[in-house]
Symmetry: C2
């Protein structure tokens, strides 16, 4: 995990892309090792073997580098199987996030980012635009496609649906009132799709 | 809002109760004026006209005083009308919290508390036990009573239901990706009770 950056970037790509990947790798390593405080622009630049100016050519702020890095290491969790049912697709996404927060250092890191975001508009903006929005967009697209196939009721606010699916996982991570247990994702999806009222 | 503590406590109560209310009032005033950093034990004691030792006789830590105070000023938002339907009761609760976060200084304060809680186990514990749990308990009780009347499907995890109702409001407050808009509470309750799938 600690091999310095540029050597790890895949060969055969343009230099700018190699530099970008080296910076993201260096950032991810620093975050994994020491959390948010460890990932300063100075340390990222040193580990990636680039200048601070190079970093700022690609990212407006430290918050954006951190979130891009966070996102890069976890991109697979929003992959969608085109043949899966709506329920299975949603459950797989939520389950991946729940496991990510519960079983990897990204759980602690998300808690740090969420905390810093309350007093740092840059981090809050990056967290929203680079992390939350892309994931919500996948969910909302799946829901919209299902609605167009007539699989969902018409009078639904899809942004609220996204909150009712994703927010409980963040809520449990941040407040610790209940565990990110196995089966949570399936319950979240099942209860919302089917509803709580008896189907008669 | 700035009249010092003891004089504001209702007359005719035991002295210990007057002192307790004076401390909570002083804390709430400090929080309203300057947020979490302003509510130190020293300042709370000075404004309430009591000693620090007196405060620690009632509360184990600063986090608990802060949360008790927060809770005292907002107790009305979890009042339940015994004649209201389940949907109306839940909607009223969620709507009150949403308005509290959106329209009063308690929104900013909850963001501060949530942030501090990520690095301070005392505040996190107090936030969970003195704020989240009492509210969730009201919701879960309403849901359990409805389930016993046969108004809900049997195979439901009520703790997950509580998350799907409450967590979206905290999520929007903390991450700012969508507003705490009018009608959000009704949508949260309606979508979860009825479900997203067509009812045929």
């Amino acid at each position: 995990m600690t091999q310095p950056g540029p050597a790890r970037a895949p060969r055969g790509r343009p230099r700018s892309e190699r530099v970008r990947l080296a910076v993201l790798d260096a950032t991810a390593d620093l975050l994994t090792e020491g959390g948010l405080p460890a990932a300063t622009i100075e340390r990222i630049a040193a580990r990636a073997g680039v200048s601070k100016a190079t970093i700022y050519k690609w990212w407006p702020t430290r918050g954006h580098v951190v979130l891009d890095s966070f996102f890069t290491r976890t991109r697979d969790t929003i992959a969608v199987d085109p043949d899966a049912s709506l329920a299975d697709s949603l459950t797989a996404q939520l389950d991946a996030l729940s496991a990510l927060f519960r079983d990897t250092p990204l759980g602690r890191l998300m808690r740090e980012l969420a905390a810093v975001a309350q007093g740092d508009a840059d981090v809050r903006d990056a967290l929203e635009k680079r992390w939350l929005r892309p994931r919500r967009a996948v969910t909302v697209r799946l829901l919209r496609e299902a609605a167009e196939r007539g699989e969902l009721r018409a009078e639904i606010d899809l942004e609220v649906v996204a909150d009712q699916l994703w927010a409980p996982i963040y809520h449990r991570l941040l407040f610790g009132h209940a565990p990110l247990r196995d089966g949570l994702a399936a319950d979240l999806v099942g209860q919302l799709l089917t509803g709580l009222l008896p189907r008669r």
